[in-house]
């Protein structure tokens, strides 16, 4: 079941939430929609589910136009962040709901439904919980039931909205591996929404990074990590340091910067911005260096140095036992040698912190 999304736009009360989404998802793929809150990822998921409708654009699944299908007729499995289980039904009845609610003519017999539910309970490793009520279950167990309920109708597409967002870290890791198994065994096309990079990269075949209603980049962990397609992605992937530099014949130049480890890039000469992760920078002690250390903290394994050159203030991380770390105390001056980084042409733009980018700002044209 390939899913083709074309030129999709959507706005709420004049605020654009989706600004032209084009995306094709192949049959059997496990895709993550990754982005900060307000990036439109959940809206996109709900549109695929039929729980929301776009202002314009197309949605075709295996050739059929889904925008003319009600949610009920799409046969999708949708898993909500807060489970949305029916509290007055047992686990068994919850899972059976999608089957028992069918019109009498299409409804499988009681025995068939019971067998199907039993099979799912075993498959989801919650066989012993069948007769409990949702409130008697832990968060992880509830999410398993929610997935079971979605799988019972043998969905063409499985959609998960921040499925592990309400769970604690250990349960999360556990369920992540388990969801991958479920996906591989059922062979369904699966799309899940998350704001957790680790989760997206570990679980998905492909990650779609979204920001402010647009698709910023599609790829796997290494591609997106090493070659962010835009300043937005670079920031979202943790590049919190943005240094103004000059580009000269593909070389990066700036005062106090040893760019020897950076690859030459085919970019036009002129001003540019170098995006760096705090851990990808080596400080080089130099009495006449550009940056001064204003603060030094340690968590035992990593040192964090707060640097300033008067105009800009940022922090870098390095292993505490690294040879370069010796003698770096507040007041000392350093130059920097980036080990890896990404350059985008153009002067440094305003810097919304990627992780906290709120609702997309209004834009006149779409």
């Amino acid at each position: 079941m390939s899913i083709v999304i074309e030129h999709m736009t959507k706005s709420f009360d004049g605020t654009s939430v989706l600004r032209g989404i084009d995306l094709t998802i192949e049959s059997g793929e496990l895709v993550a929609l990754l982005g900060p809150s307000g990036s439109g990822k959940t809206t996109l998921l709900k549109i695929i589910a039929g729980l929301d409708w776009p202002d314009a654009g197309g949605l075709r699944v295996h050739g059929a136009d889904w925008l003319h299908l009600a949610a009920q007729d799409r046969r999708i499995g949708f898993v909500f962040q807060h489970y949305a289980l029916f509290p007055h039904m047992t686990v068994r009845d919850n899972i059976a709901f999608g089957l028992t609610v069918r019109p009498r003519a299409e409804r499988p017999g009681k025995a068939v439904i019971a067998a199907k539910v039993n099979q799912l309970l075993e498959f989801l490793q919650i066989g012993h919980l069948g007769d409990r009520y949702p409130t008697q279950l832990s968060g992880g167990q509830r999410q398993r039931v929610a997935l079971g309920r979605a799988l019972a109708i043998e969905p063409t597409v499985l959609l998960l909205d921040e499925p592990f967002g309400a769970l604690d870290a250990a349960v999360r890791r556990d369920l992540r591996a388990w969801l991958r198994e479920v996906h591989d065994e059922t062979g369904s096309t699966t799309i899940f929404v998350t704001h957790d990079q680790e989760e997206a990269f570990e679980l998905a075949d492909r990650v779609v990074v979204m920001g402010e209603g647009r698709i910023e980049q599609i790829g796997n962990a290494d591609q997106i990590h090493d070659h962010p397609a835009s300043p937005f992605v670079a920031r979202f992937m943790g590049a919190t340091i943005e240094l103004p530099v000059m580009l000269n014949a593909g070389r990066t130049e700036a005062q106090g910067l040893d760019a020897s480890r950076l690859q030459r890039r085919a970019l036009p000469d002129g001003p540019g911005t170098l995006f760096l992760r705090p851990a990808d920078v080596t400080p080089l002690a130099d009495p006449s260096g550009r940056w001064q250390i204003v603060r030094r903290t340690s968590n035992g394994a990593l040192l964090r140095l707060e640097l300033t050159d008067g105009a800009q203030h940022f922090g870098i991380d390095l292993p505490r036992r690294a040879p370069e770390a010796q003698g770096l105390s507040p007041g000392a001056r350093v130059n920097l040698r980036p080990e890896a980084g990404t350059i985008f042409p153009g002067p440094r733009t305003s810097q919304p912190t990627a992780a906290t980018t709120e609702f997309p700002r209004k834009e006149k044209s779409l």
């Binding site: 729980l51 046969r75 949708f78 909500f80 509290p87 007055h88």
Partner: protein
């Protein structure tokens, strides 16, 4: 809950014993003692005399009128109240807050005022009464009038019982049902209704209890014809006027019994519903 108790939160009211004592005193003086006095008064009568009062044709007729009218008013209010609560929680429209506030008028309005205004509207020369009389329908001085007055004063109990439950209902639950293929009616019947049913039944039960005891609004519009539109509360009042304290107490006791039974049913419904929903 249990963890919080261990920390001993700072109390707002001074002293547990003082605040509990005041509360108990109030309950005793204002609620319990009158009820006990009524029961004792009834007990004085003796079973044979008690039965004679209750089984008297006029008393039976009054009780029948009261129960019939209250039951019909409650059935009407149960459905209309559900609709009202649904509209108030599910839709946004101009004037919604005003409508919401209007729902409290029957609570706030003196019931006599309600009775007088209803009588004025539905009397033979009133706004509604004139065309209705023309069509051959009499409201004033009939069982219809009694039902109307009871409906008016008890509707908020249903609306206000359902409203908060409906507001708290997670919309994701209905969306989940939708993705699982449930049509709107199936979603209502299998997802929404079970969630609001306890509140709905409890609200309707309280509305029923309130209708049984309704006096002020009813006496104006009912005409109070013995055997036809005379309600039990009025008959008790009439007996009191006649210095027939035993007669009044016996009828009041029957009403009290009905109210207590209904209150028990209401609590039982909520208790049963809370069993597997409490941790939510």
């Amino acid at each position: 809950m249990t963890a919080a108790a261990a920390i001993k939160p700072k109390r707002v009211l001074p002293g547990f014993s003082l605040s509990l004592g005041t509360t108990l005193l109030y309950v005793a003086l204002v609620i319990l003692i009158p009820v006990i006095a009524l029961v004792l008064k009834g007990a004085e009568i003796g079973p044979a005399r008690f039965w004679a009062i209750i089984a008297a044709p006029r008393t039976l007729a009054a009780l029948r009128v009261t129960l019939t009218a209250a039951a019909l008013a409650t059935v009407f209010n149960a459905f209309y109240g559900l609709l009202m609560a649904w509209v108030l929680t599910r839709y946004d429209f101009p004037g919604k807050r005003i409508l919401d506030a209007l729902m409290d008028i029957p609570f706030a309005l003196p019931t006599a005022v309600a009775g007088i205004s209803l009588t004025a509207l539905y009397s033979a020369n009133g706004w509604f009464g004139a065309p209705l009389t023309g069509a051959g329908i009499n409201v004033v001085y009939t069982l219809g009038g009694v039902i109307l007055a009871m409906t008016f004063t008890s509707i908020p109990f249903v609306v206000r019982a359902i409203q908060p439950v409906l507001e708290d209902l997670d919309p994701a639950m209905e969306q989940a049902a939708m993705t699982l293929g449930a049509r709107p009616f199936a979603i209502f019947r299998r997802v929404v209704l079970p969630a609001i049913l306890p509140a709905w039944l409890a609200g309707s039960t309280v509305a029923f209890a309130r209708s049984l005891g309704e006096f002020g609004a009813v006496v104006f519009i009912a005409g109070n014809l013995p055997f036809k539109t005379e309600i039990a509360a009025l008959l008790a009042f009439i007996r009191l006027e006649e210095y027939d304290y035993q007669g009044a107490a016996a009828i009041a006791l029957v009403l009290l019994l009905f109210a207590l039974i209904l209150l028990m049913i209401s609590n039982l419904i909520q208790f049963r519903a809370a069993r597997h929903l409490e941790a939510r």
